[in-house]
Amino acid sequence: MQSTAHDFKDNVGVALADANLQDSLAKLKVGFSERRREAAERLPEFEALRDCARDIKNHALENLDFYLEEFERKVTALGGHVHWAPTAEDARRIIAELCQSMGARTVAKSKSMVAEEIALNDHLESLGIAPIETDLGEYIIQLRHEPPSHIIAPAVHLTKDQVADTFFEHHRKLGFTRRLSERNDLVAEARHVLRQKFLDADVGLTGANFLVAETGSSMLVTNEGNADLSNTLPRMHIVLASIEKVIPTLEDAAVLLRVLARSATGQESSAYTTLNTGPKRPGDLDGPEHYHVVILDNGRSAVLGTEMQDMLRCIRCGACMNHCPVYGAIGGHAYGWVYPGPIGAVLTPQLIGVEEAANLPNASTFCGRCESVCPVRIPLPRLMRHWREREFERHLTPRAARQGLKLWSFIARRPRLYRALTALANRALSLFGRAEGRFHTLPLAGAWTRFRDFPAPPAGGTFHAQWSRRRP
């Protein structure tokens, strides 16, 4: 998708003024974090499992070439095909050619963030192939021509009323002429509309939560079962996944699944966990005749072996954004690209360039809540700081900030000068501010005083001035 990450500050203004979004975010902040906490508390070994999950992903990343080739061997032996896509463009081309080889008119898609990353829908549409999103959230935003705002709950920015309006507008022509207001009715209507589309689709396309090297299986978890229809009904199943999704064994998958669902939604496991292992075999009652796995790099391999490698452990549970106070204030669209929240602030600069996404790793207080809930213990604040360091080295840090920092640094490295200047500042602030105790406006502090008062120091001088008077 087209990035608006460079307009981050403008996006923030829009998000903060959007009353519907703010309503939705208020619910998200409480709901997700409480459910995750309860799920973690119910499982005594949860913290130990997080360590295991981290170690499994680290091991896979350290031996990524081996496990990817192993996976390819297994898929090929099963009668499937693996396609390597170094770039987004390669992935789009490979998938389009596969669809065209089937003469496909429609593709049933189950939710895939990698498909968003490579802007697959636009590409297919430009070739006259209609992609049909079958995940309820993705279906809603597809109707509205919006990008997802969350990696596991793509329509979480919308209220129920907005969804009702969208369905009313789009389903009227299909004969659904009543505007619904109940959640269950909305789901039932979407199910009805989508069911025929599954049956009509020529190709099913899904993402993958894990690629299991030992069996050549792709593993997918959903709560709607839509992926199972997407990958069993059409004659061709295409799996689109990025390189870091590969893990060694099914046993590893079992560990990761246990932390994934709990971290994401607070469930013990997602409603559907599906393993796809090759095409339909002789004697199988259903399944696709053709099975293809497209594995995307798109800049990921460049972080292997660097200080940034930890970002590739991500299993896309969304816990970091569910617990992020910045995401909670502005929602996912403000980040301007596919992956929002703390993991987005780390991934996006890598995938679309730090110049474009320079704001994202800066828009964090480093509160550390993301890292504290990450099921694979990604040190997200540290990675964001690394990006800030790279921006500073490349002079992408805003000029005013650089100059302010330079001046501050000059003073902070000279304790006696620092002492003299802070004594002056303290005296001035105290003199002008202490009668009221605070400032409503203050030169050079407009960004602060626009929204808050600025506390004035009491009389008596700085701590160090008072200290040297007290104990000479």
Partner: protein, 265 residues
Amino acid sequence: MSKSPSGSSAPPRRVALFVTCLVDLFRPSVGFAALKLLEDAGCTVEVPALQVCCGQPAYNSGDRATTRAIARQVIDAFAGYEAVVAPSGSCGGMLSHHYPGLFDDDPAMKARAQDLARRSYELMAFLVDVLGVAKVTARYDGAVTYHDSCSGLRELGVKTQPRRLLASVEGLSLREMKTPEVCCGFGGTFCVKYPEISNAMVGEKSADITAAGADTLLAGDLGCLMNMAGKLQREGRAVRVRHVAEVLAGMGDRPGIGEPDQGRR
């Protein structure tokens, strides 16, 4: 008001107070409160003259070279003390968790940074976990709510220590917020780089504080406290704001943060 705390069996220690730049400039009483709490617990406290700032403004802006230069200065200033104690989880965490990583290419400096890291503490954690202080003798008539500042909470595990000590303050009751562990939106330079987001965060915090029904807000980090005090006061809320050390040291009768000071000269 407060006398020496009981329950401490720790021997006197030579402790350096890391005042922190915000306390030095904006709220010296926090430094004196820390000093009193440490001395009451039997420590001999010194305030090294060459201390300035821990370097977080540079560190969090990606300026590693400046951060390293400042870290060297801090490491020199605090050489030789048994413990270095800061009335701040953020600055304490900078010394104890972040300095060593700055010197991966310089083994000698790294060893010195690790040595300082081992000796560095946040005030509440030092009093309770190291010195074994179980209570203070202080009085504060009012209901307080306590905000868990992020670095102290998540880097240093400061959570129960201040609450334990507050429980021993006469006249004080604690009313928890719904989400005391959610960031207040300060974040150092974040609050002026992204003022709208910061405002949304501190606005929500202010609502949570107000809903708790306490008359005083306490926390262990002055940056967060100034941010929350500024917002509460801009909104006209009647909540007073103090550093937890001030209340524990019996200095809770002074004007709160952002309140008028009649002044001595």
